[in-house]
């Protein structure tokens, strides 16, 4: 088992180099001069531009730039961004917010998705099931920004149940609205996945055995149907965590959440290679580790899966 975990952790190295290289190259290949773009309509003297270029290594060829980036990274010196702020400090500011948002969204989608999916699966073909299925389809079909604005207006502004925007001080309470919006799309998938899985397991032989033993329905459902049904759902949840962290740009913009999405978006617009790659690197780490955790959880849920050498 430990060997398996070590092997998986070693896999991070090639994944990390591959993604950073790719992302760095894409930023490098973006059209336009990032330094000139910084100054807008009032271009500074060529000397200033040259000096700034040198400062950010932009006068070097691609491989040197990438190499210097890696060197800085491994010496824990992420440098400063184009506004002169240390990148490490801004990462330290934005990531906790995004992690909070993603975890809250994950909890919301899991709790509601699994609960509704379970009930719908157990009542397959009845009114509740049909309603939930249609509702989930509607949720999947509506774009996030529509859903976001509607909920912001309705719950945040008109009803005043939650803060419509987050602002600089993000905490669990005022992130509830963006987390709900973020979680809603995956919620629909979790629900459908749970439902399908429950329906499949409901008719399994071992469920009949459990009933024949004399177990009450709730116990059959919780200990025998639900646990076995969670196996495919867990896989999906792990994969969706990455999406929740990195793909929250729209939601973060709507609710003005100072998180990774917004920062990444701005950095891409400004062609700020180091910032983009730094953020992406952290996201890659999160993604790989989340997947490892999912696989370990998977083996715990299903003893038939064993990671041997």
């Amino acid at each position: 088992m430990i060997q398996y975990i070590l092997r998986r952790l070693l896999q991070i190295i090639p994944v990390f180099i591959g993604t950073t290289l790719l992302v760095y190259f894409m930023v490098f290949a973006l059209p336009g001069d990032p330094i000139r773009a910084l100054f807008g309509d009032r271009p500074p003297s060529e000397a200033v531009i040259a000096q700034l270029r040198q400062q950010y290594n932009l006068d070097q060829p691609f491989w040197v730039q990438y190499g210097l980036f890696l060197k800085n990274l491994f010496t824990f010196n992420l440098g400063v961004d184009f506004t002169g702020q240390p990148i490490a400090a801004s990462l330290g500011r934005i990531f906790p917010v995004t992690v909070m948002l993603a975890v809250e969204a994950l909890i919301i989608q899991t709790v509601f998705g699994v609960t509704f999916g379970l009930i719908a699966g157990l009542r397959k073909g009845r009114v509740f099931d049909a309603t939930v299925l249609i509702a989930s389809l509607v949720v999947i079909a509506i774009p996030t920004f529509v859903l976001g604005f509607v909920l912001q207006l309705l719950i945040g502004v008109q009803l005043g149940w939650a803060k419509p925007t987050v602002g600089a001080t993000a905490d669990w309470g005022n992130l509830i609205l963006p987390a709900t919006v973020l979680g809603l799309v995956s919620f629909a998938y979790v629900l459908r996945l749970t439902r399908a899985s429950v329906i499949e397991n409901m008719n399994a032989d071992y469920v009949r055995t459990a009933t024949a033993k004399g177990l009450s329905r709730p116990r059959v459902v919780v200990t025998h149907i639900l646990r076995n049904s969670m196996i495919p759902v867990i896989t999906y949840l792990g994969a969706s965590l990455g999406g929740l962290m990195g793909g929250a740009i729209v939601t973060e913009s709507i609710f003005n959440v100072p998180g990774v999405g917004q920062k990444l978006f701005q950095a891409v617009i400004r062609s700020e290679g180091p910032t983009v790659v730094a953020i992406v690197s952290v996201l890659v780490l999160v993604f790989v580790i989340a997947n490892l955790l999912v696989d370990l959880l998977y083996a715990w849920l299903d003893p038939r899966i064993r990671y041997e050498n």
Partner: protein, 611 residues
């Protein structure tokens, strides 16, 4: 019908039949299923009762309602069903009683053993946890006491290492061990009634014999009433005191085991008994019936208490005489399939190392010969079948098919492509081996079309001819597989295999998924076709009785090796290898008296230290 004296069917004659109290009394039990808003009857007006210490076998083929009616006893049917009548357990009415009462009875008074030990236990909990769950549900005991009880039960069902079994997950146990664990769980609350739904169907014969032994021992020890649901007449003969024969929802005949086997009254019972292929009966033609018990007794020098000594000597002599006069082999022509010291490996996949499934196999099939390859699961019999078609690579030795050495043939290469035109293959599961989106006519015609043998109206004519050969109506050509019954689908499979007029047919358990009466018809068809067309055949099966009907030669496989081979007479009349003897002795005979002899013989074989 209700007052049948139950003769004791055990070897010990001293034990008098203890006629127990009636445990289960079923009156006018009917089960309907709602299909497309109509009620379809699955069981109609059933009446039977079971007494303590008695085994009632409910026998029937698929769709007879035997399982549905038994599941109805405990309310285990799906929600689209309707049950009426009366089910009394020790005088207490179960039908219509409230959910809590039924739950109280389930697992405690009435326990169930299901068919598939693979899936009947929850894969994510240990065996011990599942038994403990049952024990604690019905008894107010501490976790430690429950564990102790579970361990005792695992010991009772003769698992070699109860402690280890307790901690094992179901997938870590073999099929037989899993079924033992299932039985341990069922018995953990001392049920008055045990319902065993095809308890040995998914198991190998030797394992089946062990489980049947176990159930017989338990019956004597525990004095529970047992309802045994099965389609296997051999199992019935081995275990049942009384028999109820079901067909299309009705009980057509009930009686003691003796009565039903000796003197079946209903024509369906007679047909059912006639359809059961039993080991030693021989084929439809000249092959004489073999007294396997006598053969085994002679081969192992066994003395049987249940058979008169002089009688046994006479039977052994008859057997020896028959063996002496048995037609010697007359192999003719160039071998169609020839294996010389063949080893077959499942190739390495990623981190999973290569697995050698067959080693040192020598086997020759001459034109027109049917060779039965027999073995239990994991013996490598299917592997040889697949390698003969070039689906698995030969790791060592030489394999010649229709005159060509394919041991070194490239996967999907030209040579294999050419060789495969001379081989037909029939698969085990007729449902999944036909493309569900192709009309069966196209499935049958595809090999001919791909080989460029025929097209257009020529192809259509060939398809019609093939349908005639397998005795299916020509109009079936445009039907899809799901519109056909299992037996019909397998006929289509045979027609497809025949379409290129193969020299060699590889049949992998082609009848094991079919009901006995259907199996009998398919085997008969197969035999006739083989005689008419004269193809050679490698017939892979776990069922010795089927091989006995069909094969000229029999090869017995165990753990990847062919342990014994010879003509049918040599193997059945004079089995030399201990494994072959054990295998033959494990097959239950559909005749209570003969089965008693066989059982004693088997006990001696096992006792004499044969591994």
């Amino acid at each position: 019908m209700t007052d049948n004296i139950t003769p004791n069917r055990d070897t010990a004659p001293a034990q008098e039949p203890a006629k127990g109290a009636i445990v289960l009394e079923v009156r006018d039990l009917s089960v309907d299923f709602g299909v497309d808003k109509k009620w379809v009857p699955a069981a109609i007006g059933l009446n039977y009762e079971v007494r303590a210490g008695e085994v009632l076998a409910i026998v029937g083929e698929s769709g007879s309602g035997k399982s549905a009616s038994s599941m109805a006893l405990l309310g285990l049917l799906p929600s689209n069903s309707r049950v009426s009548g009366s089910v009394r357990l020790s005088g207490k009415e179960l039908l219509g009683s409230n959910a809590a009462n039924i739950r109280e009875v389930r697992g405690k008074d009435v326990a169930v053993i299901f068919q598939e030990p693979m899936t009947a236990l929850n894969p994510v909990y240990t065996v011990g946890a599942q038994i403990v769950e049952t024990v604690r549900l019905h008894n107010e005991v501490s976790p430690d006491q429950a564990k102790e009880r579970a361990l005792r039960m695992l010991e009772l069902v003769e698992l070699p290492d109860p402690e280890k079994a307790f901690k094992s997950y179901p997938h870590q146990l073999s099929g037989g061990q899993r079924q033992r664990a299932m039985i341990a769980q069922s018995l953990s609350c001392d049920p008055k009634l045990l319902i065993a739904d095809e308890p040995t169907t998914a198991l190998d014969v030797t394992v089946q014999a062990e489980i049947l032994d176990l159930m017989r021992n338990l019956r004597n020890k525990l004095d529970s009433a047992i309802v045994l649901i099965t389609h296997d007449m051999g199992v019935v003969a081995d275990l049942a005191d009384r028999i109820a024969v079901m067909r299309r929802g009705l009980i057509v005949e009930t009686g003691t085991a003796e009565q039903v086997f000796r003197n079946p009254r209903h024509e369906y019972t007679q047909a059912l008994l006639a359809a059961v292929p039993h080991l030693g009966q021989g084929g439809a033609d000249d092959a004489a019936e073999v007294d396997v018990t006598a053969a085994l007794a002679a081969a192992t020098h066994a003395e049987l208490e249940s058979v008169d000594h002089a009688d046994l000597v006479r039977r052994e002599r008859e057997n020896a005489a028959a063996l002496a006069t048995a037609a010697a082999e007359r192999p003719q022509g160039e071998p169609v399939l020839e294996l010389t010291d063949v080893a077959i490996e499942y190739p390495k996949q990623g981190r999973v190392p290569a697995f050698r499934a067959v080693e040192g196999a020598n086997l020759v099939i001459y034109p027109g010969q049917v060779v039965g390859l027999v073995g239990e699961s994991g013996s490598g019999k299917t592997t040889i079948g697949r390698a003969a078609v070039g689906l698995l690579p030969v790791a060592a030795g030489t394999m010649r098919v229709v005159g060509q050495d394919i041991s070194a043939a490239k996967k999907n290469g030209k040579q294999l492509h050419h060789v495969r035109r001379h081989i037909g293959m029939v698969f085990q599961d007729p449902s999944s081996s036909l493309n569900p989106r192709l009309p069966i006519g196209e499935s049958i015609g595809e090999p001919m079309f791909l080989a460029g043998e025929a097209k257009g109206s020529g192809l259509q004519k060939r398809i019609e001819a093939l349908l005639d050969q397998v005795e299916l109506p020509r109009s079936y050509r445009n039907r899809y597989p799901h519109e056909l019954s299992g037996g019909q689908k397998q006929r289509v499979g045979i027609a497809r295999a025949l379409s290129l007029k193969p020299k060699l047919m590889v049949a992998d358990e082609p009848t094991s998924a079919l009901d006995v009466s259907v199996q009998a018809k398919v085997l008969e068809l197969f035999q006739n076709l083989q005689k008419d067309l004269g193809f050679a055949c490698l017939f892979v099966t776990h069922d010795l009785a089927v091989v006995d009907v069909l094969a000229d030669r029999i090869c017995v496989m165990q753990r990847g090796r062919i342990v014994e081979q010879g003509t049918r007479d040599q193997i059945l009349r004079n089995p030399q290898e201990p494994y072959t003897q054990r295998l033959l002795a494990a097959v239950p005979l559909p005749d209570p008296e003969k089965q008693r002899e066989r059982r004693e013989l088997r006990a001696q074989l096992l006792a004499s230290g044969v591994e």
